[in-house]
Symmetry: C2
Subunit: 422 residues, 2 copies
């Protein structure tokens, strides 16, 4: 079963806006066994839109259009689908009532323009929109191609705003598609790894996942992370789950401890979970990352159960006054040194009475000529981790710009925490 998606709206032909609806729609369609063969972005131009609809109907079983269902003159999706399929549009009484109720609830007069949104394609079903004024439409129809053959086609009109589109797809489109399509049992798993090159993950895992021709494997890389996505469809849910589990187990065996989560949790979540299980508290002392490590941890709800807080010791004075690093040590070794990383980790642990203190000091760049760290390369980072037993310090050289050095440094810190807590 093949689908096409047409995103309608001139704003998506500017440098500022992008069609993101199709990612959500593609995920939903793939889950039902439908592949997406083509995506088109068209402006509010009836000639272009009609041409795009014609092309899509020739090629695909299912056509989803998102956008162009608003009340203005620019919103032409309804009209263009009607013209492409030689169908009439009629005003749907229930849709008018729904629109009037919506405006009444907001104590607003309905502008006459909005009546346009109650225009329905001949033979189409209305898909009510709980989050906006434009209802979607569901149309099962038959087309005749140039070779005089007839083909069944499903045409779905959805509003452009993601919140409206998603709600209608989930509540109205997905269940109808499930009815229409053969039943399908599907299992998924996501394995996540940090700080390993994509090529090395692929080299080690490809010999395994290639043997599982019935499992679709996707490798995604970004933000210092590699994700392996598995997807399998079988005749029963159990069979699908089994196959994905078998593959995941073999990959876990190969990659071992490099895998930080096998159920989709983020690295921050895993670290907080481990702290929770072991009943340990954590504090941070950050120099070059300027609070990013703490920010990442506190983005997780209930981080406060195990994360106490910490210090951003951007200036050397604060390294001394908050984390009690000896001023002389900074003078002798430099702020970016294993000795200062150690003193920061131990200092913040002592100051906060946390079970674990972790520190990051490094050179995020850009390089400052004749600066205090001018002898040291951009990307040089030291991370210290102090607990009740001892303090470890690791050195990293991170390639890339300021943003990358900072992000990677926090990834390394989280990975050090994870390994220590294991």
């Amino acid at each position: 079963m093949l689908a096409e998606i047409i995103a309608v709206g001139s704003e998506m032909l500017t440098p500022h806006r992008q069609d993101t609806n199709s990612l959500f729609l593609t995920a939903g369609l793939n889950d039902l066994g439908v592949e997406v063969g083509f995506k088109t972005i068209v402006g509010d131009n009836p000639r272009h839109l009609i041409e795009a609809i014609h092309n899509a109907l020739r090629r695909a079983d299912i056509l989803i259009l998102s956008g162009g269902l608003g009340p203005t003159e620019d919103d032409l999706t309804r009209e263009c689908v009607a013209e492409s399929l030689h169908l009439d549009l009629h005003t749907d009484a229930d849709a008018v009532l729904a629109l009037q109720a919506r405006f009444r609830a907001r104590r607003m007069e309905m502008p006459p323009n909005n009546l346009k949104q109650a225009q329905v394609l001949e033979g189409a079903e209305i898909l009510p929109n709980p989050n906006g004024s434009a209802p979607g439409q569901w149309l099962e129809t038959v087309i005749r191609t140039a070779d005089a053959q007839t083909h069944r086609r499903l045409v779905i009109l959805l509003p452009g705003p993601p919140k409206e589109m998603k709600a209608i797809f989930a509540a109205q489109v997905q269940p109808r598609l499930e009815q229409l399509l053969p039943p399908r049992f599907l299992a998924r798993r996501i394995l996540r790894m940090a700080l390993i090159p994509e090529s090395s993950v692929d080299a080690r895992t490809a010999p395994i996942y290639r043997r599982f021709t019935d499992v679709e494997t996707t490798i995604l890389a970004g933000h210092g992370e590699i994700q392996l996505h598995f997807l399998c469809t079988k005749d029963t849910q159990e069979q699908a789950e089994d196959r994905v589990d078998q593959l995941a187990e073999l990959i876990e065996h190969e990659m071992g401890d490099d895998i930080f989560s096998s159920d989709g949790e983020s690295l921050e979540e895993i670290v907080l979970l481990m702290l929770g299980l072991r009943g340990l508290s954590l504090a941070t002392a950050e120099s070059c990352t300027g609070g990013m490590l703490a920010e990442r941890l506190t983005a997780i709800p209930n981080a406060s159960r195990n994360f106490l807080g910490g210090a951003i010791v951007y200036s050397n004075d604060l390294k001394v006054s908050i984390c009690k690093v000896p001023a002389k040590l900074i003078q002798q070794k430099g702020a970016v040194s294993p000795e200062v990383a150690r003193a920061l980790a131990e200092g913040i642990r002592e100051r906060t009475k946390a079970a674990i203190g972790i520190s990051i000091t490094g050179i995020a760049g850009p390089a400052i000529p004749d600066g205090p760290d001018s002898g040291k390369p951009v990307g040089l980072v030291y991370i210290g981790l102090a607990d009740a037993e001892d303090t470890q310090v690791k050195q990293f050289i991170i390639l890339g710009d300021r943003d990358r050095v900072r992000l990677w440094a926090t990834m390394h810190a989280l990975e050090m925490l994870r390994h220590t807590l294991q």
Copy 2:
């Protein structure tokens, strides 16, 4: 002049990857006076790709294809363009030498596959790729449409990886297009505002910008910010700049102090700039934002000139021990209270000897039933700002989820800093 963009690659028909190249290409084309009329995303499917090329060549003067220039069997852009235009492909000797040199420099044997990348369309110019193995191609050609008319067409092939595509576009495509197209003088301005609803910005500014029919105005909203983009084209650079300046001045007059930057700088940059001009230092004490404010400031190079650092006082103990908030005050008023915000700002200022201390304490959510703050609503945030003269505390109610409350709280803090420094 009308362009179309075709992004080639099956990965962009999955839920995981998206064509982002077209945003960059659209910006570059618009600068040269070329509009984008259609964008298509096609998989590695020769039938689909040839159809997309045919459709595009019928409609557009310029066709840019990105992707599908790699060395594998799936990379079919060259072949499909050749077939669509009935052109031969030949192996370009210089391109072969460039490929061989590239592999030699990496001390690698060139796989025979890669020779494919030296295949050039009859009549096309090679666009060397400094960042990868696939060169681009520039082809000026003539097509004949069904009505027997002939049309000049420009077809540009670019590699898919953004770093490679961008470098070739900037160094090779843009200058050639400038030669080809009528000269064009273009001025741009970006006005940025924080924390104002888009509808209110539009209501206040539309009566002004609508009178400037020769300036294209775009309103972009996101991450607590509103941007007004102005773009004007005239016969001379001076005329274009003048028109944009006139409009910007009127809008600045209307929006006044709400505009934090009129040359594109971020709010963090503006705050650091103002601190620098006034020779003042800053320290932060963050509770619910967990380091996000410091992280945003330190993302800017050379933040260390005026930002000293600060504390993440997630636990109440740290509020007491680092920022010297009286434990009794927290007990009596709660950690999320104007009194504690004041004590935190004054405490961090004193501890760090900064000229300005700023604090954020609030309830980021999700709500914890029977938690210490259970009587207070999610989104309640207090921000304290202490300087040599006095301490101000403001209350905010921020709607939305944890991420939004945290982000908006840092925006409010930056805005308070900006207003105080003015």
